[in-house]
Symmetry: C2
Subunit: 349 residues, 2 copies
């Protein structure tokens, strides 16, 4: 499922070869957003696709466009242009566009083939991997979606070079998460590494941690849930920001979420305090944890109730017993969550 091609500065030729081999008679349609449109021309089309007939569809960027309304617009365009199962969609974008493009492609005419070319570090190491796709709905993250398989993921470091620091930090957040839940040695490497020196080798290592987990449990019945470490808090915090029409990157929310869930891990799974502290120190190099108002905390907890992994009464977390070892299905009450908010708030004063 979801085979990956890794490359350094050769995505254009690799993609062309793949399309020529697998979809010689299909219509090739590129889905881009206002940020990746130029990237798509410069890094992909200009080098090898000269004289080849393709179509480009551009949508607006941003989490708020990962919506059912945007999906409807795309389905309309697909219908209007007469796309069929002989159309292959090539998504050139970050996590938002990968999630949206995959959702629209896999529900149009019960699924047309699609390929992902992640352009951000976060999309490379996380969003494009594992077949989850979907859109936000009523301010809830990924509320509508499904599991689906793309035909190929192309990961190339060519896109990293122009990425702003903020975007690199977002990707680092998910790389760190992969290390914390499954690989102590990878944590040691990440810890030492410079943000601007992330290599294709490290990206490969991060994706392979995720792939290994996904292959064991593609539909998230059990072990795949460990990939949600940090995400119960993160999704609820993102919901709050969506609600308030404020911008927040997924990566930053995950960094914050991990701080709270590390604290919960110490309390409920006896994670060594020292380890948790080291990780929190590392995270604090890249972000500062907000000091939430009690009104905001209330809203975040209400949003957690909508999390896809809950049972009927308690909130579901993945917690760590130590770095590299995660336990899923830790159900905690709202009071226990409130406590951890107060503790973290206290510690950042």
């Amino acid at each position: 499922m979801n085979p990956i091609t890794y490359s350094e500065n050769s995505v254009s030729s690799k993609l062309l070869k793949f399309l020529e081999k697998n979809y010689p008679l299909s219509k090739w349609v590129f889905l881009v957003d206002d940020q990746t449109h130029i990237l798509c021309y410069e890094k992909i089309l200009s080098s090898n696709f000269y004289d080849i007939s393709i179509e480009i569809i551009q949508v607006e960027t941003g989490e708020e466009n990962k919506s059912i309304e945007q999906s409807i617009q795309l389905w309309e365009t697909f219908t209007e242009y007469g796309f069929s199962k002989n159309t292959v969609l090539i998504v050139i974008g970050g996590g938002v566009l990968c999630d949206l493009g995959a959702f629209v492609a896999s529900t149009y005419k019960r699924g047309i083939p699609y390929v992902l070319v992640p352009t951000t570090l976060l999309a490379m190491v996380d969003a494009s991997i594992g077949g989850k796709c979907g859109v936000n709905f009523l301010q809830y993250k990924n509320q509508i979606g499904l599991f689906s398989e793309c035909k190929r993921i192309f990961i190339d470091d060519i896109f990293l070079k122009t990425l702003p620091e903020k975007e690199l930090i977002c990707g680092l957040a998910e790389m760190l998460k992969h290390a914390l839940i499954a690989d102590y040695n990878f944590w040691k490497k990440i810890r030492k590494n410079e943000l601007h020196n992330i290599s294709i080798k490290q990206i490969k290592e991060a994706t392979q941690i995720k792939m290994k987990i996904v292959l064991q449990d593609p539909y998230e019945k059990n072990v795949r849930k460990i990939l949600n470490f940090g995400h119960t808090f993160a999704h609820a915090i993102e919901h709050l920001f969506l609600n308030e029409n404020c911008n927040l990157s997924h990566g930053e929310a995950v960094l914050w979420g991990m701080v709270y869930e590390l604290q919960l891990s110490v309390k409920h799974l006896k994670m060594p305090k020292k380890e948790a502290k080291e990780v929190i120190q590392f995270i604090k190099q890249y972000t500062s944890i907000p000091n939430w108002t009690s009104e905001q905390i209330k809203e975040i907890i209400i949003a957690m109730r909508q999390d896809k992994k809950n049972n009927t009464t308690n909130i579901n977390f993945t917690l760590l017993s130590k770095i590299g070892q995660a336990t899923f299905d830790c159900f905690l009450s709202e009071i226990e969550i409130l406590e951890v908010f107060q503790e973290v708030n206290q510690s950042i004063k």
Copy 2:
């Protein structure tokens, strides 16, 4: 996949037992439409569900409500009521509601469990079987959808008794199709049978023909396409009616579609004329073929271009070489389709 429980007049107790065994801690939510709401009370809830906490969601009936707008309303309701993966949706309805309910359930939070209780003959022998779900979009049938698996299908003849003749004919259309593509003996039985005497045994036989095909090719890469016999025409005709805001049942469209595709089978696959004539005679007991205007024919052919199974230039059909033997991926040009319209028009004058 999609296991079926067949029963005679005992769906209520069978469904209850299934839910108690498999979803004891889940919220049980019934999805009904304005026609099946009463049926649901009378035939299911009143007998065994006394004192059991359930929820009922009612939507409006009809092909025009198998839409993305209706899906959005349902996703909103699901979110508002806090449905989670610990909610099981029980769809009590005909083909339209089964398709819609399955689509909404399998995309909400990347899929919550659902059960189908088809209440029409057509839904029993066809719509509920095989995991296709979806909604119409821009007047195109099932344009948005996916393959998904329901947890159980309950087929009980209790719902047949009050079904109007028109509904029985719709179901008969798909039973006939199953016979024509795969089972000569089943055609002989159907031919003799009285419309009002359709038994659970015959329904089982029809569903098993379909199940056998679906199991060989769940995602319609090859042999499953034979189930589309009659449907290339049928879907395009339904598109025309949706466009003109006219009512047309799927079954009737399929009966018409089969007449055209039988004619194509004689021309292009040398199906014996005598056999085709016998089947067309049989069909004409239940419906009259409209005499289309040339404007309508043009619109039907344009709609065919949107069919999910086409290649880039020609229209894809399943045709018969004889009764019980079908060939998929027969690509015909628009001119060949136009000819068959003229021939059938001629023959009904």
